[in-house]
């Protein structure tokens, strides 16, 4: 009997060893990738790099300001569309989970989440780029907004579903009309969760290249016109990294580093928001 218990303990130790080992193995490539990008990119970044457009081949210097401004404008525009629409849909789904509309829109959200981003790009190309006859920042924003929507919808829905019904009843029993219950009680109580969903969705789309390939297209010059082609960070990385020139490769590394930092900062913000603003139920 005692020998058996000893054997069981050994099995537990072995099992624990295995999961720790794989957890560690999982982290290694991630850290190597991060370190590599930082090593390659960090020395490219300086004030000149952040405030100038890319230099032509053979000329030293050059920067990524066109991509920074482009990414900012396009993500901002897509967020302006996707956040209110996504929040409204998320509120509907959490409030009316048993209706037919909720069932089918929930299904659509799941499917939308699984649609490859390049397919979203093609669709937007046929919807907007072709009729307008030109690549444009606005079409890129539409593609990004479509990518953001399912994340915002699901995070809003999941957050609000966790709030107890008693909260809603408390407000309703005070004679508060339904729309005010949602806007003044339910949404503020779930604000941390909704906001972290929003920052995560931004972190997700800021690195998307595929939907921008045939929509915003890219632009070697600084442009702020939303009806003209516009550069973005991931697209700049794609173009310059696949070029045959070393200078351009360095530019792509610098841009990769900046993009990485954005995503990192957005994730840290998300963590801080969830910790600081979470309401104690």
């Amino acid at each position: 009997m005692e020998a058996k218990i000893g054997f069981r303990n050994t099995k537990s130790v072995i099992f624990k060893g295995i999961i720790v080992f794989f957890a560690f193995i999982m982290v290694v490539p991630l850290i190597i990738i991060l370190l590599y990008i930082i090593k390659q990119g960090i020395f490219q970044v300086n004030w000149h790099f952040l405030t100038n457009v890319p230099a032509p081949v053979g000329e030293p210097g050059g920067g990524i300001v066109n991509a920074l401004v482009g990414s900012f404008i396009m993500v901002l525009m897509s967020a302006i569309v996707a956040i209110p629409v996504g929040m409204a849909a998320g509120i509907y789904l959490s409030e009316n989970p048993r209706t037919k509309l909720a069932y089918y829109s929930g299904l659509c959200v799941d499917i939308l989440q699984g649609v490859p981003s390049i397919v979203v790009g093609i669709v937007v190309y046929f919807w907007i780029v072709k009729p307008l006859g030109t690549f444009s920042a606005i079409s890129g924003s539409v593609a990004l907004a479509i990518m953001m929507l399912p994340i915002v919808i699901r995070s809003t829905e999941q957050t609000l579903k966790l709030l107890p019904d008693s909260l809603k009843e408390a407000a309703l029993s005070l004679g508060v009309p339904y729309h005010r219950v949602i806007l003044k009680v339910i949404v503020p109580c779930g604000f941390a969760g909704i906001l972290s969903g929003i920052t995560l969705s931004i972190a997700r789309v800021i690195g998307e290249t595929a939907p921008l390939l045939f929509t915003a297209f890219g632009n070697p010059y600084l442009s702020t016109s939303i009806t003209k082609p516009m550069e973005s960070l991931p697209h700049l990385i794609f173009t310059y990294a696949t070029s045959p020139y070393d200078d351009w490769h360095n530019l792509a590394w610098g841009a990769s580093f900046i993009l990485l930092m954005f995503v990192l900062i957005l994730n840290i913000i998300t963590k801080v928001i969830t910790r600081k603003w979470k309401v104690q139920l």
Binding site: R98, S166, S173, L174, V185, V279, Q280
Partner: protein, 252 residues
């Protein structure tokens, strides 16, 4: 002559086809404490939620008959208006977690967008918290979140929130079932004081509580109002055999 504040006339409630409150007729006087007791699933909470029209918020829930508040049928009034006239306190304390204690008390005004001056707010907050026997405990932490309070304090905060709207009638849905004995007695002690200004209807499955706090008791069984009488009378000499069985613990 005592005046009637709430009167139910042939009141029925349903969940889909399930008939949960059957032909209830009851008349409740001003400044009375009424206990509503009965076994689980007897329709007592559903009846209570019918009075301030919270019942109809549940999908498939319907009702028939009249509930008169000061002689007017609440089902002919705007539901939102009815709910603002009748206070309600729930089974679990449910202060708004995003609001401070101060804001929780005046939540009925804040959430409805009713503008009142800072001075008026201060008066309402102090008066309501004093009535709810909570003022002394929280007067130095009014701007902390309400959820930092203990369960019993939270429940008294919810009572203060209901009082702040100056209702004539306050409904309590098993207000102490989620509280420990000490918090329970603090809430029960409050009922006696609130009686002076308000009419209280308290749903409880705790017979001792019904006996301790109420003037009159209504006994519900299988959706029917079996007996409604003076609390003392009912607990010493019930008229109906089913009440007798319930009180003596022959079923629960």
């Amino acid at each position: 002559m005592e005046s009637t504040i709430v009167k139910a006339e042939n009141y029925n409630s349903y969940f889909g086809d399930n008939h949960v409150v059957k032909d209830v007729n009851i008349s409740i006087n001003k400044n009375e404490v009424i206990a509503v007791m009965g076994p689980s699933g007897c329709g007592k909470t559903t009846f209570l939620r019918g009075i301030n029209r919270m019942h109809e918020l549940i999908p498939n829930a319907t009702s028939k008959g009249k509930i008169l508040l000061d002689g007017e049928n609440v089902y002919d009034m705007n539901a939102i208006y009815v709910r603002s006239k009748i206070g309600m306190v729930f089974q679990r304390p449910n202060p708004f977690p995003n609001l401070s204690i101060y804001e929780n008390v005046i939540a009925g005004y804040l959430l409805n967008g009713i503008k009142i001056s800072k001075a008026d707010k201060d008066v309402i907050v102090e008066k309501s918290l004093t009535s709810a026997a909570l003022w002394k405990e929280v007067k130095d932490s009014l701007h902390k979140k309400g959820t930092f309070l203990s369960g019993g304090q939270q429940q008294r905060l919810c009572i203060a929130r209901a009082i702040a709207m100056q209702p004539e009638l306050i409904l309590f849905d098993e207000p102490t079932s989620a509280l420990d004995p000490i918090s329970t007695s603090s809430v029960e002690a409050l009922f006696h004081e609130l009686k002076a200004n308000y009419t209280l209807i308290i749903v409880t499955h705790n017979m001792q509580q019904a006996a301790r706090v109420s003037d009159r008791t209504a006994f519900f069984y299988m959706g029917e109002l079996v007996e409604f009488d003076d609390t003392k009378q009912m607990f010493t000499n019930p008229a109906d055999q089913r009440t007798q069985n319930y009180i003596t613990g022959r079923f629960s």
